[in-house]
Amino acid sequence: MSQPVSFVTRADALLGSKEAAAVVKGIRHFTEARDRVAEEFPIMEELRDRARTIRLHSLRHLDRLLGHFADQVTALGGTVHFAADADEANRIVAEILHRSGSRLVVKSKSMVSEEIELNSHLEDLGVEVVETDLGEFIVQLAGDTPSHIIAPVLHLTRQDVAALFSEKLGVEYTDDPTELNEIARTHLREIFLRADAGISGVNMAIAETGSVVLVTNEGNGRLTTTAPRVHIALMGMERIVSRWQDAAVVLEVLARSATGQRLSVYTSVITGPRRPGDPDGPEETHVVVIDNGRSEILSGPTAEILACIRCGACLNVCPIFRTVGGHAYGTVYSGPIGSIVTPGLHGMEPWWELPYASTMCGACEEVCPIRIQIPSMLLHLRERAAAEGRLPGWLNRGMSRYARTTTDPQKWRRAKKWASRLSAPLASRGWLRRIPGPGRGWTQYRDLPRPASESFNEWWRTNRGS
C-alpha cells in the first residue's frame, strides 16, 4: 500500500499529460449531468438532508445494525464473516473459494476489494479472477489501477481502449464505443457461464431484511451474483442502513450525484441464496464485512467520512482532482474523500500530505449528497499532521515567527518596512519576478506584488491618525 513517491511528485508528473487531459474531458459529463438532474429534482436538497440523517444514524448504531443484518442473512441460509483487516478478509475469501472448489472467479466492481488487494492475493493462490465491470475489465487488461471511484478508466481515452483491446484480445482495431462494448461483452459472456464463483461489492446492506443492494449500469453485477454457484459479497463495515425505506432515500441521491442519472440502469437486491423453486441464483452466499481500519476512524474526529456512499461527486468538482486525476493520489480512494479515508485506513505515514492537496474551496461539501463536512475534516488531519511534527521546518519556524510578529503591532510595522526595503532592488514597477526562499514556488509561475513602500496602516496614521 505504501508509496515511496510523494503526492506532489506524482501529481506534477501528471500535469499536462494525456491522462490528465482525458480526466478533464471525461469529468465534464458527470458534473453537467449532476447539475442538470439536481436542478430538475426539487426535493433533492431535502433528500440530501434525509440521506445524511440516515447515514449518520447507521454509524451511531453500527454494532446493532450489523448484528441484525448478520442474523437475517443467516436465517436466509447465507453466511456472514467479519474480517478485522485485509489479510483476514483475503483469507476468508480464499477459504470459501477453496472449499467450494472454485478456480475461476468473476468479479463485479468492488472498491473494497481494491483496498484489500484481493485480486493479487487470489492470483497468487492460482485462482483466475476476471473483472467484469467494463472499466475494471479494461484496468485489469492494461495492468493498470482504477483512477476514479465510479469511473475506473476516466484517465483513458476511447482510442487507448481500442489499442488495448486489439493488442490483448486479438481483435481488429476499432474505436467505436458500441463495437468496443460488444467485444468486451462477447469475451465476458463465455467467462460468466464457466465461472465457479462471483465476487461483488456492496453499495448498501439492509439490516432489516439481510439484503445487499448493488448498483450498476452494465448488468454485470446481476450476472456475477446469479450465474455462478457461489456468491461472495464484500462490504466495508459502514455500508449499512436500517430499513428498506432508508435504502430508497440513499438510492435517490446516489445515482444523481454520481453520474447524473435518476437511477442507475440496474439496481439489484440480493436477499440470501437460491430458494427451492428458484430457477437460478447461487447455492451459497457469503457476505464478508471488513473493518480494516474503519473502527479506528469511527472513534476519531473524522468518523463522519464513513457516512460516504462512494458516489464520486466530490472528486468530479475538486479543482485538484480535475487537474491531475486520481492516480496522483497513489491509492484506491482518491480526491477529497480519499484524502480523508486513506490516512484513516492506512495511517498518516506516508499519507499525511493528502489532506494538503486541497485549496479548501469547499466545492466537495457543496455537492456531497450526505453533506459530509469534508473541508473541516481535511483541516482536522492537517492539524494532526502539524502536531505530529510532519510539516517542513521552514513552515513551522516561519509560521511561529509570523505569529510572533503579528501579535505585536510594532513588530508587524517593522516587518513590513523591512520587506518593502529588501524587495525594492528585486522589483520592477512594483512587481517581483523571482524571489528566493520557500516562496520561490510562487514566482516560478506568477509575479508577486512587492510589499508596498507605504502600508495601509502607515497611510492611515499619516493621513487620518489621531
Binding site: 506532489v8 479548501m360 474551496c361 513552515l395 509570523y402 505569529a403 503591532p409 520587506a419 506568477r446 495601509f456
Partner: protein
Amino acid sequence: MEGQRVQLLVTCLVDALAPQVGRATLAVLENSGCRVDFPEGQTCCGQPAFNVGLTDQAREMAAHTLDVLDETEGPIVIPSGSCSQMIVHHYVELFEGTDRADQAERVAARTRELTQFLVDDLGAAPSASCDGCSVAYHYSCHGLRGLGLEAQADRLLEDIERVDLEGDKECCGFGGLFSVEMPAISAAIMDEKLNRVEASGADILVGGDVSCLMHLEGGLRRRGSKVVVRHIAELLAGDDK
C-alpha cells in the same frame, strides 16, 4: 449627519501588498455615509496558520485580533470573504470551550464582508462604475461557499457591462499556502482560469478577495496579458484605472 460607525479591518495582504484596496474600501464606506475607524493594532487574522494546521499559532493571532476588535464598536467590515469567514466561522471553533468563547462569538456576530455590508446591511448600496470597460467577476470560494455571498456582488455590478466568465464559481487554485507548497498544481488550475478570463473578452477581472486576485494578476502579468485586475472596492470607489 451622524453616519453609522464601522470598524475597517483591511487584512494583512491589503495592508502590506495592496494598500490601494484599503483606501478604496475606506472611500466606499465613507461615500456611503459611514464613519470609519481603523483599529491600528490590527495585523493578520491567523488564517495562514489555521489552514496549514498550525492551530496554536493561529490561536495566538486570532486572540490578538479579537482583543483589537473587541474593544471597538459597530460592524467590522472586511474587504475579503476569506478573512471574514475565518472570523465568522473558525474563531468560534478555535476558542470553543475556552474563556475567549464569548469574545469570539461577539466579534463574529459583528463581522461583515464588504459587499455583504453594503448590500445587506446598508441597503443603499453604491453602484460600481467603469467607463467603457467590460468586467468579468470571479466569485472567491470562501465568500461564495463559506458565507453564501453571490447576489451582493451581482447587485453592486448591475450598472456595469458584465461578460460571462465560464466557471466563475470554480476555485482559481490559490488556496493560501497551497500556492507555494504545491505551486505547479496551483498554477495549472490558475492557467485554466486565466484561459477562461482571456476568452471572456473582459477588460477587467474583478473579485472580492485580494488573495485570489493577486494570484490571478500575478499569472496574467507573467503571460503578458492586457487584462487588468481590480478589487470590487476599487470599482465602487471609482478607481477603475
